[in-house]
């Protein structure tokens, strides 16, 4: 990723600090985004905010390195996260219909899961939103950097 053009020199100087910081921040931010995601429902947080925080982590990574290297972190193009997330959200909304309840009724497992607490369709709905948000933000990022 060496850039010999003079106008990028200043950026390169800053990048060392930024890159080092990013190496620590990326996992931290991702963990935090998961925390926010799981914390949702009763407390503030949820899939949308969590997804945004996770996207910020990747945006930071793309600033420090390049968009291409950020995308290399994913095995598949981030666009594919969108339909997967939508499907997950849709199924979690549709599940109660199969049980004879109105669409989007919260259905919960009887037993609590350690650490997370009660698990129900709301969580899977949020995970779907989380994936969609990451997919959308990274797709937009990719499109913008392509048009540069």
């Amino acid at each position: 990723m060496k850039n010999n053009k003079p106008k990028h020199n200043i950026k390169k100087l800053d990048a060392t600090i930024l890159r080092t910081a990013t190496n620590y921040l990326l996992p931290l931010l991702l963990l935090f985004s998961l925390f926010v995601l799981l914390r949702g429902h009763y407390l503030s947080g949820g899939g949308f905010v969590g997804g945004l925080i996770a996207s910020i982590a990747f945006v930071l990574h793309s600033f420090a390195y390049t968009t291409r290297r950020t995308l290399r972190l994913f095995q598949v193009p981030p666009r594919t996260l969108i339909p997967i997330g939508l499907t997950l959200s849709f199924i979690s909304g549709f599940l109660p219909v199969l049980l004879g309840q109105p669409f989007m009724t919260g259905v919960w497992f009887a037993d609590k899961v350690a650490v997370i607490g009660s698990v129900g369709t709301a969580l899977f709905f949020d995970i779907g939103v989380y994936l969609v948000v990451i997919g959308v933000v990274l797709t937009i990022l990719l499109t913008i950097s392509e048009s540069d």
Binding site: F90, P102, F103
Partner: protein
């Protein structure tokens, strides 16, 4: 009746859109999935209409949260009819766009966005919560914006900027109105609102809120002072998109207006006066705008404005018979306007231009198609016994009964102008010989393979048959319209079905 089935038309299109996302770059698969999705959506909407017709209103409390706290979905006869119309148009335009839309558009998600647009329309027609209505409006606007700008030509951008600016303005006014309404009543459920609105002491504030709703919906349905965004943007996207926009988008505003001003607000004489004045001005400006245009689609854009005036006039008269006229006109208009856009697209395919003075000789070259086009044109003008005739007669009659002769005169003036322009299109495009300088132009339609031709012609013929049936089988449509009008004049039916789960 409480049933999850009410969501089926929305979910059908949602699933289709999700499945389409999995086939992002596979054009053939996208076409197939889209057509299947549209057929399923159509069957499901038909079933919904049949259920509502037999059993009365259907409701659903999302997530089991009871009204007025949760989000309610309600389908009365009006909603079911609108959903049905949306499904018919969506199916026809969906099939049409498999051949009419170019491949790069499909690669950039044409069908995917299209199904989201239809989903948004269905949601707007079925929701029973006024904030949720706003959300569906946004779904529709965002999707329509993408469809309008896909391709990114300069002309499209120009139209899109006007379109988006005006619609954003309308949305913000609508949202402000919802905010005030929530502030004074503490409720957002359409069925719960009327009792709270009636109890508000500050009547002035209620009138202001009602007017804000009218302005918001008015911009979206392109009524008089705020109509100019429509003719300056609707001719820019491909005809397939224009068909959905022209047929359904403005009707969403009219639908919301009918809903809000029959259930939530009881319009007083002042409000009704505003409706009538706006309707008259809308009809005049639409008719005069159409008269000097040469491009078929531009003419049609002004026709949309002009004919919205009929619907607003019907609401302004506020009698049961006037509502029968409005609903009948709505049914007729959605089908014919969409078909008119598809027809103009077909003319463009065959002759490359849509300028009526450069067209000609259509009847000589394509006699069978011309007859179909004739049906569309003359349904629009309201020649008896075609579909536009019956609702117009009803509206004339009501205006006469109300002794509102200015309105009656304008209604007749607007339909006379429509007839005049339709006759001009007929004589210029179909009867006249092809003008010489244009005679050499290539026919883009003839080399089309058989399946493509069928996909282009079949939906146009199908919708023409539907409008023929509306005209010839008017008694059934009257029955539907009468029942809708009865429900509109007695909002307690709607309210009871939500609040007390009555059948």
């Amino acid at each position: 009746m409480i049933s999850n089935f009410i969501l089926a038309p929305i979910l059908a299109h949602m699933i289709t859109a999700i499945v389409l996302l999995f086939f992002w770059k596979n054009v053939q698969a996208q076409k197939t999935v889209s057509v299947i999705g549209n057929i399923v959506g159509f069957l499901v909407s038909w079933r919904l209409f049949a259920l509502v017709w037999e059993n009365g209103n259907m409701t659903l409390q999302m997530g089991g949260w009871q009204a007025p706290f949760g989000i309610t979905f309600v389908s009365d006869t009006l909603s079911a009819t609108m959903v049905m119309l949306t499904a018919i148009v969506s199916l026809a335009v969906g099939i049409y766009s498999t051949a009419a839309t170019n491949i790069s558009r499909i690669r950039y998600g044409h069908f995917f966005i299209y199904h989201f647009l239809i989903m948004g329309l269905m949601g707007a027609f079925l929701t029973g919560d006024i904030f949720n209505l706003y959300v569906w409006f946004e779904v529709v606007i965002i999707s329509s914006f993408v469809l309008l700008t896909l391709g990114g030509k300069k002309r499209q951008m120009e139209g899109a900027v006007k379109y988006v600016t005006m619609n954003m303005l309308a949305s913000s006014i609508f949202l402000t109105a919802i905010g005030i309404l929530y502030g004074i009543t503490g409720s957002l459920n359409i069925a719960d609102l009327p009792q709270h609105v009636a109890a508000v002491e500050n009547r002035g504030l209620v009138t202001v809120t009602a007017l804000l709703f009218f302005v918001g919906f008015g911009i979206k349905s392109a009524v008089f002072p705020m109509y100019y965004w429509l003719p300056s943007s609707y001719h820019t996207p491909p005809s397939a998109i224009g068909a959905v926009f022209g047929g359904l988008l403005t009707k969403m505003g009219v639908y919301s207006m009918i809903r809000v001003f029959t259930v939530v607000f009881e319009p007083d004489d002042f409000m009704l006066g505003v409706f009538i004045v706006i309707a008259i001005l809308t009809m005049i400006s639409g008719a005069l705008g159409a008269i000097n245009k040469r491009n078929i689609r531009r003419i049609l854009s002004y026709f949309i404005v002009c004919h919205i005036g009929y619907l607003i006039a019907g609401i302004g008269m506020y009698t049961e018979l006037a509502f029968v006229g409005v609903v009948f006109y709505l049914i007729h208009d959605v089908i014919v306007k969409s078909n008119f856009f598809m027809m103009s697209g077909l003319i463009q395919k065959i002759r490359v231009t849509q300028d009526i003075y450069r067209l000609g000789g259509f009847y000589k070259d394509y006699p069978k198609l011309s007859i179909v086009f004739g049906i569309i044109l003359f349904s629009l003008a309201g020649i008896p016994p075609l579909s536009g005739f019956w609702p117009k007669i009803l509206l004339f009659q009501e205006a006469f009964k109300a002794e509102n002769y200015v309105l009656l005169g304008t209604l007749i003036f607007a339909s006379f102008i429509t007839l005049f322009i339709v006759a001009r299109i007929w004589s210029e495009v179909f009867w006249k010989d092809l003008p010489k300088p244009n005679a050499e132009e290539i026919d883009h339609f003839a080399p089309f393979h058989m399946r493509g031709r069928l996909a282009l012609v079949l939906p146009v013929v199908g919708l023409a048959v539907v409008s023929l049936l509306i005209g010839l089988n008017a008694s059934f449509v009257f029955e539907v319209a009468e029942r809708v009008a009865h429900e509109l004049m007695n909002p307690s039916i709607y309210i009871d079905s939500v609040m007390h789960h009555l059948k």
